[in-house]
């Protein structure tokens, strides 16, 4: 049965993706939920919680408020907190019960904004999609709401990094390594969406010549920035010498032609399988194929633009279908919490990610941008 998992974990959910994407931008993000979502997110999905004073809260929705449609409680609580804490913006994101009651997030955001004078965003997340969906919505909304429409292109080559959250890149300085790669490639980094940049940095994103999308969470913002400023984007994470060179070339081509670029390598066949988020996994597969000459397939359990997957890759969400797809695999590269469903004969290479196993293996999450070779040596 598709919706059951006998043993494997669950990917971080859409509502947490919203929180993660907006975490460093000085806003106040409110999960409209009874209880539990807040501690889940801050314990398992947010490695920055202890050290950064970001305002992420839960509304504490009660049975009677849900039944009676008492949205005023939420609105007045948010306004009261905003008056005290002065966030740069307010975001309200949904969970299963608001999804059931048909809560109107856009209308509530509008009301909050009119009462507080603070920009407010509503996200109709349901808690039933993965973090990719929520983070992508959030970054796209930031682009549409806060990007300075009067931005002019910089004189020198510049780029933004889109789709950076700890859910895909942890806090192991992968974000800094990607920025360093861009600088080495001749592109000054204007903003990182959204680790290591402020809302003001992001508002200047329209001045960049090209955007680098490093996970599916950045695709919504990339499309919005292209629509608003005509900025082309390149999809891929620079890993390994050969694939990084491909990405570098794609960035230069995109900047020169204005055409979007999707660098990838696709060797035929392959009995090594990577399970993970679409963009990072296809990039890793391409990097491994280019460096080893051996074919690698991808199974993507999270939302992504299927056009970004290669022909041999598969978008599979549930334990049962992933288990079946692994039946002929010789080697699997995946989060350790996928290991129990791998055939005993499979060679398992652990590649932990916060989006699946949370904080459990945080210390073991590799920085594949700056140290691809060490990881590649583990792969036969």
């Amino acid at each position: 049965m598709k919706q059951t998992s006998t043993i494997i974990s669950t990917y971080s959910a859409d509502v947490f993706g919203v929180c993660s994407a907006l975490f460093e931008l000085g806003g106040m993000t409110v999960m409209h939920d009874a209880s539990g979502c807040n501690s889940t997110y801050t314990t398992h999905d947010e490695p920055r919680w202890y050290d950064m004073d970001s305002m992420v809260y839960i509304s504490g929705l009660s049975e009677m408020e849900a039944i009676m449609g008492d949205d005023e409680k939420l609105i007045s609580d948010i306004c009261a907190a905003a008056e005290e804490l002065h966030p740069k913006f307010i975001a309200v994101a949904g969970t299963p019960i608001p999804a059931m009651t048909g809560f109107d997030f856009d209308a509530v955001a509008e009301l909050i904004e009119s009462r507080t004078g603070i920009p407010a965003l509503g996200f109709a997340t349901t808690g039933m999609n993965t973090y990719v969906h929520g983070a992508s919505m959030a970054l796209e909304a930031v682009a549409r709401r806060f990007a300075d429409r009067n931005a002019v292109k910089t004189a020198q080559p510049t780029a933004n990094i889109l789709g950076l959250t700890p859910l895909d890149f942890s806090v192991n300085r992968s974000d800094a390594a990607i920025a360093a790669f861009l600088e080495e490639s001749g592109f000054k980094v204007l903003s990182r969406w959204a680790m290591g940049s402020t809302l003001e940095d992001l508002s200047r994103a329209g001045s960049a010549h090209v955007n680098l999308v490093v996970s599916s969470t950045g695709l919504g913002a990339a499309k919005a920035l292209q629509e608003l400023f005509g900025t082309p984007y390149v999809v891929g994470v620079p890993m390994g010498e050969e694939f990084s060179a491909l990405v570098r070339g794609a960035l230069q081509t995109a900047a020169a032609t204005g055409e979007n670029q999707f660098p990838a390598c696709c060797l035929q066949g392959g009995d090594t399988v990577i399970i993970g988020e679409g963009v990072t996994s296809v990039s890793l597969a391409s990097a491994l194929e280019l460096s080893t000459g051996k074919a690698v397939k991808v199974i993507c359990p999270t939302e992504t633009d299927e056009a970004l997957l290669r022909e041999k890759d598969a978008k599979l969400q549930f334990e049962e279908e992933i288990l079946e797809a692994l039946s002929n695999a010789r080697q699997v590269i995946a989060d350790p919490l996928f290991k129990p469903i791998c055939p005993e004969t499979v060679r398992f290479v652990a590649l932990p990610t916060e989006s699946f196993s949370g904080r459990i293996y945080r210390e073991d999450i590799p920085n594949l941008v700056s140290d691809f070779e060490t990881f590649a040596n583990e792969v036969l």
Binding site: L61, H86, L337
Partner: protein, 440 residues
């Protein structure tokens, strides 16, 4: 229009002299402190030996519980059925639970003797026929005991709280059996009762056969709890479950409250002894011993400021009262509400120590309350340690295994230890379910 300023203002507490009972603080948006030592419903359910937990809910709700189990190294005793948007629209929630749970049971490498099925807020709102669901599951799997468990925090302000419910469901699989005279079950708490606690000493001195879920090695041993003549609870949220158990299985439920008040301690144990028809313990000299221990501890702690929080034990105000009356510099207590059991301590402190500060733990402004620099506080409880940013703290949750005068002596001993030795507060407080074998 709101006026913008650069930084949020410092959140200040409320002097207890000006605080209202039972809710000193207005409700609003809630913050989650990084202190995670208290148990959740996954930890508690795992206390039933050989039980398999199956949660049926949306991904956002599954995320926290599935990783709780994984961190415990108990993923093999945990499964999920994911509720999707189409289930809400199609109205097939009952089918999803029945078929999902059945599918998981068929796939498990070994048939568990008991399965805890946790439904969630969406089932409640969709008006699911839970009775029919469990009846069908029992028909399909007559060799398995099913316990209806709940992860429905939206109901936390209506009827029994999720915590009370979980502590009651923990004993639902017990099947009636002949009552054995002279046997007692300690129920409704997560951590084993200390061997030197007043209650354990009393029961052992009188040769009672003692059952406790924390020491059951297998499901059969767990079932033996049903032979108990007495069910003894010590945690406030276990009382409702204790009453249910008594009505269903016939033993008598006795509540011995956790307390730091000498009269209440003696009354609780005396009442228990009288009901059980065993000799009342000899309390002579205990109050003098308490006074001596308080003095010894005060000599070591001196005037250092002390902060207490509600996760340490069910009676944070009772502890503040004990310490303040003995001359300690307790300057703040972290709690979000005052329980009915603490009303007398609240009133006493209001009158005799009106400057004691009360701080909430979930108020939105508490996000910025944690001290940036290391402080010289002695904290009692994880949240107090976090908010005051001190490595000198007593690391206990839910009252630990303490009860009776021993709770006073042990608390004072742990305070002295905390003064002498620093702990790694940042890492210790983030471990979920303290004492449940967490692996992070």
């Amino acid at each position: 229009m709101l006026k913008r300023i650069e930084r949020p203002r410092e959140f200040s507490g409320i002097p207890i002299g000006q605080a209202s009972f039972p809710a000193p603080f207005a409700s609003g948006l809630e913050y989650a402190s990084p202190a995670r030592g208290t148990w959740n419903i996954v930890h508690t359910g795992m206390l039933i030996p050989e039980a398999h937990e199956i949660f049926v809910c949306a991904a956002s709700c599954l995320r926290g519980v599935v990783l709780t189990a994984a961190e415990l190294g108990m993923a093999h005793r945990f499964s999920t059925v994911e509720v999707r948007e189409n289930n809400l629209l199609d109205g097939d929630m009952e089918d999803l639970v029945i078929e999902g749970v059945s599918d998981i049971i068929e796939k498990l490498p070994k048939r568990p003797p008991v399965v805890l099925v946790y439904t969630s807020c969406v089932h409640h709102f969709a008006g699911c026929d839970l009775e029919m669901i469990y009846e069908e599951l029992r028909n399909r799997f007559p060799d398995i005991d099913f316990a209806d468990c709940y992860m429905n925090p939206i109901m936390r302000k209506s009827g029994l709280t999720p915590d009370q419910l979980m502590r009651s469901r923990l004993y639902m699989p017990l099947k009636p059996r002949p009552i054995r005279k002279g046997s007692a079950a300690l129920i409704g708490h997560d951590l084993p009762l200390d061997e030197d606690s007043d209650l354990m000493v009393l029961l052992k001195e009188n040769s009672l056969k003692i059952h406790e879920i924390t020491s059951c090695r297998n499901y059969e041993e767990y079932q033996e709890m049903a032979e108990s003549e007495f069910y003894i609870s010590r945690y406030p949220s276990a009382v409702a479950g204790g009453d249910m158990l008594s009505q269903r299985l016939g033993g008598r439920h006795i509540y011995v409250p956790f307390s730091f008040d000498c009269d209440e301690i003696e009354n609780g144990l005396t009442r228990l002894a009288e009901i059980m028809d065993i000799p009342v313990p000899d309390f002579s000299g205990k109050r003098e011993e308490v006074a001596a221990a308080l003095k010894e501890t005060l000599n070591m702690v001196g005037g250092a400021p002390i902060a207490i929080d509600y996760t340490y034990c069910p009676r944070p105000l009772g502890l503040a009262k004990l310490l303040l009356d003995a001359g300690f510099n307790v300057d703040r207590v972290y709690l979000d509400a005052v329980t009915g059991e603490e009303k007398s301590a609240f009133d006493y402190l209001k009158e005799h120590h009106p400057h004691l500060q009360l701080f909430p733990t979930v108020h939105a402004a508490m996000r910025f309350h944690s001290a940036k620099e290391r402080s010289n506080y002695l904290a009692i409880g994880q949240k107090a340690a976090h908010f005051t940013n001190t490595n000198h703290f007593v690391n206990v949750v839910e009252g630990g295994g303490m009860l009776g005068y021993q709770a006073i002596f042990k608390t004072l001993e742990l305070m002295r230890q905390a003064v002498r030795e620093e702990k790694d507060m940042r890492n210790l407080i983030q471990i979920k379910g303290m004492g449940c074998g967490g692996c992070v």
